[in-house]
Each structure stands twice: as C-alpha cells, then as structure tokens.
Symmetry: C3
Subunit: 316 residues, 3 copies
Amino acid sequence: MKFKNPVSVKWIAEFSEATIIGNTSGIATGINEIHQVEPGDIVFVDHPKYYDKCIHSAATVILINKKAECPDGKTLLIVNDPFEAYLKLVNHFRPFTPSLTAISETAVIGEGTTIMPNIYIGNNVVIGKDCIIYPNVTILDHCILGNNVIIQAGTVIGSDAFYYNKKTNRDVHYKKMKSCGRVVIEDYVEIGAGCTIDRGVSGDTIIGAGTKIDNLVQIGHDTEIGKNCLFAGQVGIAGATKIEDEVILWGQVGISKTLTIGKGAIVYAQSGVKDSIEGGKVYFGSPVEEAREKMKEFIWIKRIPDLWNKVMGKKV
Amino acid sequence: MKFKNPVSVKWIAEFSEATIIGNTSGIATGINEIHQVEPGDIVFVDHPKYYDKCIHSAATVILINKKAECPDGKTLLIVNDPFEAYLKLVNHFRPFTPSLTAISETAVIGEGTTIMPNIYIGNNVVIGKDCIIYPNVTILDHCILGNNVIIQAGTVIGSDAFYYNKKTNRDVHYKKMKSCGRVVIEDYVEIGAGCTIDRGVSGDTIIGAGTKIDNLVQIGHDTEIGKNCLFAGQVGIAGATKIEDEVILWGQVGISKTLTIGKGAIVYAQSGVKDSIEGGKVYFGSPVEEAREKMKEFIWIKRIPDLWNKVMGKKV
Amino acid sequence: MKFKNPVSVKWIAEFSEATIIGNTSGIATGINEIHQVEPGDIVFVDHPKYYDKCIHSAATVILINKKAECPDGKTLLIVNDPFEAYLKLVNHFRPFTPSLTAISETAVIGEGTTIMPNIYIGNNVVIGKDCIIYPNVTILDHCILGNNVIIQAGTVIGSDAFYYNKKTNRDVHYKKMKSCGRVVIEDYVEIGAGCTIDRGVSGDTIIGAGTKIDNLVQIGHDTEIGKNCLFAGQVGIAGATKIEDEVILWGQVGISKTLTIGKGAIVYAQSGVKDSIEGGKVYFGSPVEEAREKMKEFIWIKRIPDLWNKVMGKKV
C-alpha cells in the first residue's frame, strides 16, 4: 500500500508509540510485504527468524519488537507488538469505508469496457479499455485491471487475505491481519467464473499479462503470477507464492505458500506442490515429483507382489 | 427445525395418516436430525439399521415404517413412507415462500453491521452486530449470524442440503429431501469468498465461534464445526460431520460424511478423510494416515528398486 | 450453434475467403463440435491428426487448412487458418451483444418458475416451468433450462469455454476461441450453489434429466452428462467429456477432457480420471484404478518393510 502523500518517520514513531533508532528525519511512502519491498516502504517483523531479512531488505522503515543495529539511512521503530502497530497504521491510512453503491463514484472505467448487471465495483478501482466484466462479479477497493481483460460471472477480485495472528490470550484466538494491498491484473488476462483472487496483505497480488485462468480458481494474497500462464479449473494457490511466466497448472492442482514455480513448469492435474520447483519440467503427484519419476513409481508398486512371492516363496 | 408453536402428536398422526403407538397426548416442538435431536423433536427413520438408534434417542416422536415397542412417554407414528410423511410436514410447517425483495422485511440486522450492495438476505434471517457482509453474498431464510461475523463476497449461506432419496420407480430417480434446517454462525467467524454452506436437512449446520474459513470452501448440511478452527481454501466437508474445536484443515482437504474429527487435529493439504480421526495428531494422504507414517511410506516406495535388484539379481 | 436461417456454402466461402471444393450449391445450418456434428453443420479442423475424422464425420461443410479429397455431397472450404475463419463466422452470426438489463427482454420464463433477486438472465435464454432460480445466479445468452430445474445461489450457467489457440507470434500467446455454443439443462436437474457450467465452444454442454449436482462443481465446455447422475461437491470435469447415465462421482473427483465414463460407474472421492473408464464398476485413486485393485495396493505398500527386513537381513 502506498500512502497518498509521504509521511515522516517521526510522525509514524509517535503514532505507533515507538522508540526510534537510526534516521529520525526520514520519510515513508507506504507499507509492503517483505518479498515486494522497495525504498520508502515500511515493513514489519515480529519473529527473530526474519529480523535480519527485514532489516537488510530494501525497506526504509522497519517496525520491529527488538532493539537492533540500524543500517545507515534506515529507521527502526521499536514497539512491543509490530502486528498491532501495523493494524493501527492500516486503520488510519486505509480505513474501511465501503462504497454502498454498486459502482463506486471513484471507480474509473476505460472506454469500450462492458460492465454487465449486478456487478460491484469498489472505491478507487481502475479498469482499463475494452474489458468485459460479466454479471455478479465483485471487484473490491483499489484493485487495478489493465486493457482487454475478461472476468467471467461470479468472480471475486480483491477479497481479504486469509491471514491471522494466533493470540494466546483467551478471548481472541485468531486475530485478523487487515489487508490493505491490491490485486493488479495486467492486459489480456482472462479469469473464469466463480474465481476468488485475494488482495495483498500490504503488497500486491499480481496476475501477469496474457495469463488465462479457468473457473473456480483460488489465488492467495501477495501471489505474483507471470505472463502467459494457463491455470485449469479448481486450481488453488496459497499466499505469497511466485509463479514465473508460461507455467501451466492442470485441474485441481494445489500450490503451497511462499514458493517459486519456475518458468514454463507444467504440473499435471490434482498434484500438490509443497516446495519450490524448477522451470521447464513436468511434474505430477501429491507431493509432486518429476512426472517421469512418479510414473515409474506406479510401475514399481505393481511389482511388489512378485517380489513378495519370490522372497517369501509363496503366493499371497 | 422448531415449530412456531408446539403441535399435538395426535394432530401429526392424523396429518401423516399414521398409526399412533405409545403416548397419544404428547406434544412435538420440532423436527430434527438423529445426531442433534432433543426432547420434543420428531425424528424419522425408514431403515431397519437405524430403528433402535432413533427409538432410543432423545427424540419424543418417531416417524417409522415398522411397528415396534414404544419406550415410556414417547410416541411412535407408523407410516408406509416416513420420507413422504417428513416432506408433507415440511411443506406444511415451512412452505417455500421466498422473499422477492433483496433484503427481506422479516430479516433482522444488528447495529453497526455493514451490508454491501447486491446482497440477498432471506426471510427471518438474523444478523448480529458489527458484521461485514460483502457484495453478492446470499443468506437464505432462517439463517442466524452472530456478532462480528465477516462474510466475503459471493458466498452462499443456507443453500439446500445435497440429500436425495433414491426411488426405484421410473419417473423420479432421486427425490429431493427438502431442507428445513438452518445455518447458525457464531461470533467472530470469518468466511472467505465464494464459499457454500448448506443448511441442515431438519437440524442445523453450525460454525463455532472464532472459526476462520478461506475461499471456495464447501460445508455440507448438518455439519457441526467447533470453535477456533482454521480451514484453508477449497476444503470440502460432506454432511453431518462433527469437527471439534481448533481443527486445522489445509487446502483442498476433503472430509466425508458423518465422521468426527477430534480436537486440534491438523490435516495436511489435499488429504482425504474417510473415517473419524483422533484429535491432537497430524494427518496426511488420501485416505489419510498419521503424517509421520505416511511420510515413511514415501521412503519405502523409493526403496522398491533396490529390493528388486537384490532379489532378482539384476538391474531393471 | 444453429444459424437463424440456413446459409449457402457459397456465401460462407466468400465470407471466409476460402477455396471451395466439392458441392458448391450446398447449405449450412450451423457450426458444431466434431463429437456432436449433424448433417448441415460446419466443422473446422487445422490439425492433420483430425483431418480424416472431420472430413468423414456427419458434418456437411469442413473448414480446413489443407486441400483434400471431398466426399460426395460435402463441401470443403480451404483457408489458411480455419481458427480465424471460425472466429470471423462466430463474430458475424453471434456477435457479443450483452443484455444490460438484469433479465433480458428476449428471455422466456415458464409458468410457475420462481426467479429470486439479483439474478442475471441473458438474451434468448429459455427457462421451463416450475423451476426455482436462487439469488445471484447468472444464466448467460442462449442457455436452455427444462422444467422443474433448481439452480442454487451464486451458480453460473453458460460461462465461456476455457479454450485457447496457442500462437507462436509474440504479441498474443493464447488467443481465445470464442464460444457460441449453449448449456442445455434437462428436466428435474438440480444444480448446487457456486457451480460453474461452461457453454459449448460451438456445440452444447448438456446435463441430462434427473441429474443432481452438489456445490462448487465445475463442468467444462461441450461435456455431455447423462440422466440421473449424482456429482458431489467440488467435482471438476474438463471439456468435451461424455458421462453416461447414472454415474456417481464423489467429492473433489477430477475428470480429464474428451473421455467417456461408462453407465453407472462410481468414482470415489478425490480420484482423478485421465482415461475413459467402463461403466458398472467402482473406481479410486489418482490416476484411478478399480477400487478393489487400488485398495490391495495400499496393503502391498505396507508390506515393503517386512520384505526389506527379510531380504536385507536387518531391521531398518
């Protein structure tokens, strides 16, 4: 999420009741996810495992729950609970102000674009030229669609991330991490019916130009999809995963979070991907292996009875 | 389903053209599913396998197709086809009278709740305080939402149970069992985009407080979900299953009908659960086993070629 | 797709800039898919693998990119790119003219049918008698519903086929094959909530009488489903597959394209079907085998450690 106007780190420190370390006269221009941060961004971290990664990322401001050494020019804001500080910032800079008209007055819709009935288009949505948005589609606040995009009926663009912070106190078990990110859909993307594309938590969910997505596909928050990919029906992709260009996923494939799927990888139907996979290869299975290896495995399994009979000296 | 006012068993016997056995002066207060029955309920049974269970359940009235001994204080109503008698009762006590306005006049919506555009809210729906109902959501008759509930766009609450009676006569192969139950969603539940939650057939589908559900999740009729569960995208749960508290289901998990998933069980992505599983353990596979055992299996399969070479004395 | 009025092959040849071979005075009545063609139909083919099948099909006119021998009475129209010629014909005979009112004036809705709020019904849709169409359903142009059909909330009937032509030129990687076919739903079909049923590319997607479909089910283009089938939640069926009568698919089953599933086949949950399967049998696994065989396999896998210990002479 980019702020409308840059904000001084001093103001953010006061607002967040944070101890400031490092550059006290800096400026922040937005909040972002660690895998997408740019200079000017605030990033937040509450787990020691990610301290170093965040402090030494491109981010300019680090909301953190531990005193640490601050690289030159950066600002560390030390708070007890970076998660709560994040929520306070989001509620301030992007409060929940839903449009109660079906097509928000602040939405911008390009020339030649067809908007069919029963559609919801939220605040600050931008839709390019020559798009077709079919009935009963929901496009929520701040999402961006390029030119020549087709969204089939009933699809939801910009639902909240499925992202909670587990609390040990009794009254709230899981606390919602508010999403202030966007969905950005590039030119010539086509999305089927009944799909759900979550917005980024603080970054963007991106669907690259020319990618075609079939029906009932789920795409998690902050996932980046390359150009000219092809996803068949009922594929599900968890959050913050990177799918490179020209990847083909067949029906009902599931992909876990924070992985990378290499360029041109092909994953056969119903496979489950739990670790990153290299591009240019064909995969199958749950969990996936290279399809060739997996196919051999099926043959080996069929040979167990022969082995048994040979070893045990009897038919079973 | 509870009746608006209690009904005498005598009236029900006449209405159903039933032979009455046992208490002829009793009162019925509703119809319910066998796993949810309470005193006052009518339950119906047409299969010998379930006769005893129904007769000795908490139900007060048993619609049955067989003369049997009646426990003290209860009423047996003997009919040829309890299924048809059930349908006749449902059509009488809960006839199909859909609201043709988008938000029914009989719906009650709590203070501080945001209702976004293009939503359908049916008759006698009750929605608590401080909820957010996103666009294009459908909440059908008699469903109940607690406070601080969030329903993402495009989700359907209270669709009919997928429940049919197979007929041997030619003209109707599967006859629909009309759903008169409800969906009851407790406080702080959040449901993702594009989900479908079926109502109970005659009982309730319940989602316990604090449970968070991701996108494109299917929950079958009369399923009871505990508190603080976490279900990832594209999970599917069939009917009348009981999920205890704090269960975590990862993406695309499928769970069969009438099972119990024990408290705190974790089921890895794409697993298929066909029998009840104990709480406090981690599961994987289709059909599931304990994840640790399943992982060992993958290693054993990789060893078959070595075994083969050793036994057969040759490389393959 | 049938033309409103028959069209001379001479006109089509000129319109498509095609070289005409064979019968130059014939008449075409529509465009169709190869597995559904009837006399009068135009079929198109651009791959040598399918030349013979198309030329010797029931089709009367063959749009083809190769000079070939023409059977008596038929017409071959030779063009460089039959795919582009097809698109030009579709844009001419079925241009994209979406209704911008929620219920098109050209839609025909039968007596006793209930249309609930927030529904979209497109041009030339025909809905029979005594149907129930729940809220937020989308029924797109030219689709046909019989009598006593129930469509649960949020379902999409007639979304475009997921069908693209891969281009080697740089600017368009995948070019959309426009769908001009229909969805035809016969009497007493019931479709759950959140389903997506794609229209045929040039033919029809057909759902046979009495078939019942649960929630979040995806049905691909030109798929033909028989009578009295039962599909549980989250089933996905790819394009141009034939499902014969009384097939039962349990939850999350996936079926690949252009297969035949024989009459009365039962496929257990989460199975994946990649080749045609015979009727009257029970299947399981991904890829499927007969369930009995697959179950044995699970037992054999459990025996590998015993084999290993026996052969290797040690416990592992």
